[in-house]
């Protein structure tokens, strides 16, 4: 990407104009404008990150102030990466990731496709559908806990109404089998609109003439769907999937409010597990190594995400 916007800007400013500028030079202004942002990020993101890396090689415990931390090399990493309990937490996270993404893509794409039929009032209904995703996940988790109550909750009542089961015969949050699904349901309820919006943008970016040309070639509607619609929406869908993947990999607030990681550790996603190690057991060094592992994973996914972002931008 050699032709950055900055380059184009430099080219676009003719010499004559450049000479006329009074006061500070452009270069000085550029630095004055960017520096505070960079400084803040260095202080609140990068410095802590470097500190975390350093702590991850020690056995520091933040609740014991007078004890000097010892350097223990890679032992924290070794311990985490051979711990089958943490591996199980990763699998719980994988279950959550896989099903939320699958359901959200399926429902989100279908909705977008339906909305793209441009029926009367589609704007209004789109706005209504979008509402859940902007809400506070912690508060959402909290009130879904109320809906999931076995005897009195609305969710159980509705399920019981349609299946004829006794509403107090199952506990969404209390049972080992159902709890992993209860968090999938809430996350899907909350974030399907996100996937829908992005798919809708993808669908709307397909120019009409492509379909018209296909119609001239007598391609069936089904064939058009698989050879035009799906491939054209795919970059957008990738973007949505990656973003939801990153967000759900670090999921904390919603699930902590819903299940708190329980029952047992069936819904203990990695972030919740990390919080326990860092702020309940106070194994700061160990938790720092854990944090670095999560961070590198997210950073890797984020670089793919930015690549996908640029791909969509070019459209």
């Amino acid at each position: 990407m050699t032709d950055t916007i900055a380059n184009r800007a430099a080219k676009a400013t003719p010499q004559k104009v450049a000479r006329k500028i009074k006061g500070l030079s452009d270069r000085a202004i550029a630095w004055i404008f960017v520096a505070p942002t960079i400084f803040l990020l260095l202080a609140i993101n990068i410095f802590p990150l470097i500190w975390t890396i350093q702590l991850s090689f020690t056995n520091y415990k933040a609740n014991r102030l007078n004890r000097e931390p010892e350097f223990i090399g890679l032992r924290n990493y070794e311990r985490i990466l051979t711990d089958s309990d943490i591996w199980l937490n990763m699998q719980a996270t994988a279950h959550f990731l896989f099903w939320t993404i699958a359901l959200q893509v399926l429902i989100g794409f279908t909705l977008a496709w339906l909305i793209n039929k441009k029926f009367k009032g589609n704007d209004l209904w789109t706005t209504i559908i979008v509402l859940p995703m902007m809400l506070s996940p912690a508060v959402v988790g909290n009130f879904w806990k109320f809906l999931y109550q076995p005897q009195i909750g609305l969710f159980n009542y509705i399920v019981a109404f349609f299946t004829g089961k006794d509403p107090s015969s199952f506990e969404m949050l209390g049972s080992v089998q159902l709890a992993p699904w209860s968090i999938v349901i809430v996350d899907t309820w909350m974030w399907t609109p996100f996937v829908m919006l992005i798919c809708l943008a993808g669908l709307r970016s397909i120019p009409d003439y492509i379909y018209e040309a296909a119609e001239v070639d007598r391609a069936s509607k089904l064939r058009q769907f698989f050879t035009i619609t799906i491939p054209m929406v795919l970059p957008f869908l990738m973007l949505a999937v990656l973003f939801r993947g990153i967000e759900n990999f670090k999921m904390f607030d919603l699930v902590v409010q819903l299940t708190g990681g329980g029952p047992g550790s069936t819904t203990e996603l990695t972030s919740i597990n990390l919080k326990r190690e860092a702020f309940e057991k106070w194994r700061t060094g160990y938790a720092s190594a854990y944090a670095i592992i999560l961070f590198v994973t997210v950073f890797g996914l984020a670089s793919i995400y930015v690549k996908a972002l640029n791909k969509v931008k070019e459209r």
Partner: protein
């Protein structure tokens, strides 16, 4: 496939980024797969290699 390989040899950004992306994806998969513990153990180093590689190769020249 041919252009991919020549791209790799000529140190072009596109194919190398693709390779780094695959390594990162593999690392993430290894981290969360439910099959073998040793894959989980080596997932972190895989993702780390992929990520560092991605940062480096994204400075390679674009094709053309």
């Amino acid at each position: 496939m041919r252009t991919f390989l020549t791209g790799l040899m000529r140190l072009r950004r596109g194919p190398w980024e693709m390779l780094a992306t695959i390594i990162i994806a593999l690392g993430v998969f290894m981290l969360m797969q439910p099959f073998v513990l040793w894959a989980f153990t080596y997932s972190f180093i895989t993702t780390l290699v992929g990520t560092v590689m991605f940062i480096i190769v994204s400075h390679f020249p674009e094709d053309e």
